[in-house]
């Protein structure tokens, strides 16, 4: 069971005209940071939702650690959605309690250290925090888990460049070598340095799955530049 994620013949159609993912087959190994890249409407979020058990495939299957998406996979997948999803009425420490109660792999100490590092007061209510700080709290909660798979949907989209550096540092320093990070973003230039592999999606189909080094060697350009070439309008 070396592979972490097995996707076989996966399709998702919202209706007869809208096919978000079309017959995708893909295997993701352990211990990689993988960029999930594609233009708007390419099916990134649909794929992420299916990996998290938030959407049911129309056809095909997904297995994570050998399990179909469900309570067993959710216990080992740490997901950061592309929005603020925490209860605004709660304070940060209550959220730590929440994660600590539900996720056996959550480390309160690690979360505490990261909060201290960012000068975030655990007694602060979420509603009193700025958008960027909320995103940092969300990332801290997710990265304080010792998950097998981290799925981060646009983790750096809404924050300033200084915070981006911090977030990327947090991601790199807080995951175990056995875990895989799947990172969806439009800001390829900012994350390219941390990626091992990239997945290109277009119209719900897999265009490319290759290592960053191979792309650089084969095409003689950065992933960002190659992405712009492949998806040129």
């Amino acid at each position: 069971m070396n592979d972490l994620v097995e996707i076989v013949g996966l399709s998702k159609a919202y209706d007869e005209r809208t096919t978000a993912i079309n017959n995708m087959t893909l295997t993701l190994p352990r211990g990689r940071i993988i960029g999930l890249l594609g233009p708007n409407g390419s099916g990134k979020t649909t794929l992420i939702k299916m990996l998290n058990g938030l959407l049911v495939p129309t056809q095909g299957s997904i297995k994570i650690n050998g399990f179909y998406p469900g309570p067993e996979t959710k216990a080992k997948v740490a997901y950061l959605p592309d929005r603020t999803y925490l209860n605004n009425a709660q304070c940060v420490s209550e959220l730590l309690d929440y994660y600590n109660d539900f996720y056996a792999d959550f480390s309160r100490d690690r979360a505490g250290e990261m909060l201290t590092g960012l000068n975030i007061d655990p007694t602060s209510k979420m509603k009193t925090l700025s958008k960027g700080t909320k995103e940092k709290v969300q990332l801290i909660l997710v990265m304080s888990r010792s998950a097998d798979l981290y799925i981060l949907d646009e983790p750096i989209a809404g924050v300033d460049p200084a915070a981006r550096d911090y977030i990327l540092r947090t991601i790199i320093t807080n995951y175990s070598p056995e875990a895989t990070i799947l990172l969806a973003t439009h800001l390829i230039g900012d994350i390219e340095s941390v990626l091992d592999e990239v997945i290109f999606l277009r119209y719900g189909q897999l265009v490319l799955y290759n290592s960053v080094d191979n792309i650089r060697m084969q095409h003689g350009k950065s992933v960002d530049a190659y992405f712009r070439e492949v998806f040129a309008c």
Binding site: L54, P71, A75, P81, L86, N87, D101, F102
Partner: protein, 288 residues
Amino acid sequence: MLGKLVKHEWKATYKLNLGLIAILAGLTILGCLSFCTPLWTNAFQDIDAGFTFTDLTGIMSLIFYFIGIFGVLWGLIIYLGVHFYRNMYSSEGYLTHTLPASSHQLLISRILVGGIWYLILQVLIVLSIFIVIFSMLGIMYRAITGEASLWTYIMQNQDEVMKLLNEVFGSMYNMDAVAGFLYFIFTTILGAFVFVMTLYGAITIGQLSAKHKVMMSIVSYIVISMIKGIIAYVVALPSLFYVTNDIYSGYSSTTISLNLINVLINLVLSVGLYFISNYIITRKLNLE
């Protein structure tokens, strides 16, 4: 896992519900005070002393009490609905549905906590109305008999009170006081959970609409209530004819059988709604 879900659902809802209980306590005091104006004592003693500003305040307080009671109940219903929607189907749903819990555990925890709060508020509202009525009866008793305490009278005449209760429950359920009270408790508990399931089921069905989820939820609730009403009416029709034929002896037993049928209809529809909700969550849900 279910225990943890229930614990956190309770933690997330207790503050506002305690606020509602505090408002209810305040309203109950206001309701009791509204009978302290001379109007009531004079009325019970058949004295025409005119209508003063204090009397008007008392009447207004009583009206405010009853409006407030409805406000508390509707406040709870709206809060439970909004909390369930936010927690399950808005952005908070991204966390809820990625917890390592099954859809059954998620649903049961919400129904359990929502049902318990609805039950607590219902019981407290009945208790509040009872306290207000009792305070009114106390004033009436003092005005008519000149004795100090209605409570002392009740304690001294427990047999008569039990006989009265037996008659009341007898006419309602064709049972003695204890059996009738237990039946009342059972239907109240069941009713609370049935109501919450209907509310949550309607909100969940509303998620099938792509653009008008709230409107679809409200329409679903109305349709479910209509279906319940129609089934209850159709089932009750033959019994109603029976009542007309033999009104006195038939009424009590008809009431209880109609009541039981109603309970059964609600139970079956709630179980159906539960499984529909679970199906929607597991197969049809697409969080925005």
